[in-house]
Symmetry: C2
Subunit: 236 residues, 2 copies
DNA sequence: TATCGCTTTATTGTATCCGATTATGAGGTT
DNA sequence: AACCTCATAATCGGATACAATAAAGCGATA
């Protein structure tokens, strides 16, 4: 059992000495957004956030502008900050980007991962197939994929991929809840095929399967634009 | 003649009402880095920058942390900020990422660009072939490629691509100077082939040519690790 | 009654100040 | 002579306070 923290805000970058409150605030807000506690479209009030984390507004402002670069927050100058909201087109765009990036990472991972890594991948996939609730599903899905990219040795690429997983997390949750569990067998089958290709050290095979995994999800997503209608009113 | 500003810090995002000094400082520092005035590894002193732009240290701090997310600046907590430096491996990694992203953008652009756009692409390529000095070469190269992605209708992808052009700009300059002009005919040939494919509305062809364009550059870059040895001392 | 304009209020952006951490240099010791 | 230690100085991170901007609510007028 690997001990990646909750949703793994900083999986690729070592947690580092996050002594400075700015970093703590960044991670905390990111966590609130990824966990779904702050829904897309929610207003982010600097003073409220400052009070919540017992700091002044300054680290909060810093955090917000960093999270904007991460694509999780939208800043309107002199006006305020909101949790970033994606429409269907943007989400499809991000999936198309992921289709290009993640197979690249996986192919390099396959060339470098240890046998122990592969055991971990298999364990995560099977734990996912055995899981029941949505949050477990999402957490293990994320853990499996991000873990499968970790040996790739491309730090920039990993950061980038993690960013896109973060900014689409909310919509993956909504989509998972929407579909229910009856079509999950497809995902598990795809995951098992990917792990099998990794076991055979077939990097290209794994990459192609992963490409199709993401592409199929994108196509299914495109069939359900209603996911993006919900103008969820956020609460801080 | 298009009026893209100097190096085009904000080509994709509209310049917007950048009334706030933070944004101005971000753009200004980015410009200093991209233009080469601040070399990778240079120390960025908050007070000096504040004095240079006639603002307090606060907008500068804000700018630095944003530029860190852009990959242009490295922040060491409680220690300072430096212009990000790439080693050969990182640069090759970014080129591999670009190989995946830019063909995607181009393929979508080909489906959406106007005849007028295509004329612009051709003009830029020919202006580049007629150019003499390094800075013109770099500017037109950048303008051509970024312009060719602009009609793609994928804002996130464009921002991303522009980021990577920014963070590798210094090394493209060094590489261009290193190679001299005798091998530029390859680049012009590739560019003309790409424009021709666009004219024929052959999106896949253009994408493949672009992929090879970037890949060949990456392979050549890998042959010249000395580019990354120069520990340029920066001045503010 | 609806719309336009103004005033008020809340929230953001900026400057100055203070504490904390790190880098630097001198001095002593092995 | 090289290395380690301690003190000093420079610089960064954060808090408080103030100014500027935008949103909202109220009132007046067509």
């Amino acid at each position: 059992m690997n001990r990646t923290p909750t949703t793994g805000a900083s999986v690729v970058l070592m947690p580092s000495a996050t002594a400075h409150s700015s970093n703590r605030v960044v991670d905390a807000i990111r966590e609130l957004i990824i966990s779904g506690e702050l829904a897309p479209g929610s207003r982010l009030n600097q003073e409220d956030l400052a009070a919540r984390f017992s700091v002044s507004r300054l680290p909060v402002r810093d955090a917000l502008s960093r999270l904007e670069s991460d694509g999780l927050v939208i800043l309107k100058p002199s006006s305020g900050a909101w949790v970033a909201k994606l429409d269907l087109a943007e989400c499809l765009e991000i999936y198309m980007i992921r289709e290009r990036l993640e197979p690249l990472a996986l192919r390099h991972s396959v060339e470098r991962c240890t046998e122990g890594d592969i055991v971990l991948f298999g364990d995560l996939v099977e734990a996912m197939a055995a899981g029941t609730d949505t949050e477990t599903f999402l957490r293990l899905d994320r853990q499996f994929h991000l873990a499968s990219y970790r040996p790739c040795g491309m730090a920039h690429l990993q950061t980038l991929i993690e960013r896109y997983w973060n900014s689409t997390q909310h919509y993956r949750r909504a989509f998972t809840n929407f579909l229910g569990r009856e079509r999950n067998w497809i995902i598990h089958a795809e995951h098992r095929l990917i792990v099998d290709a990794i076991r055979r050290r077939d990097g290209d095979g794994a990459a192609h399967l992963l490409f199709e995994h993401i592409r199929r999800t994108r196509c299914e997503l495109a069939e359900h634009p209603s996911i993006f209608d919900a103008t969820a009113k956020g609460k801080i």
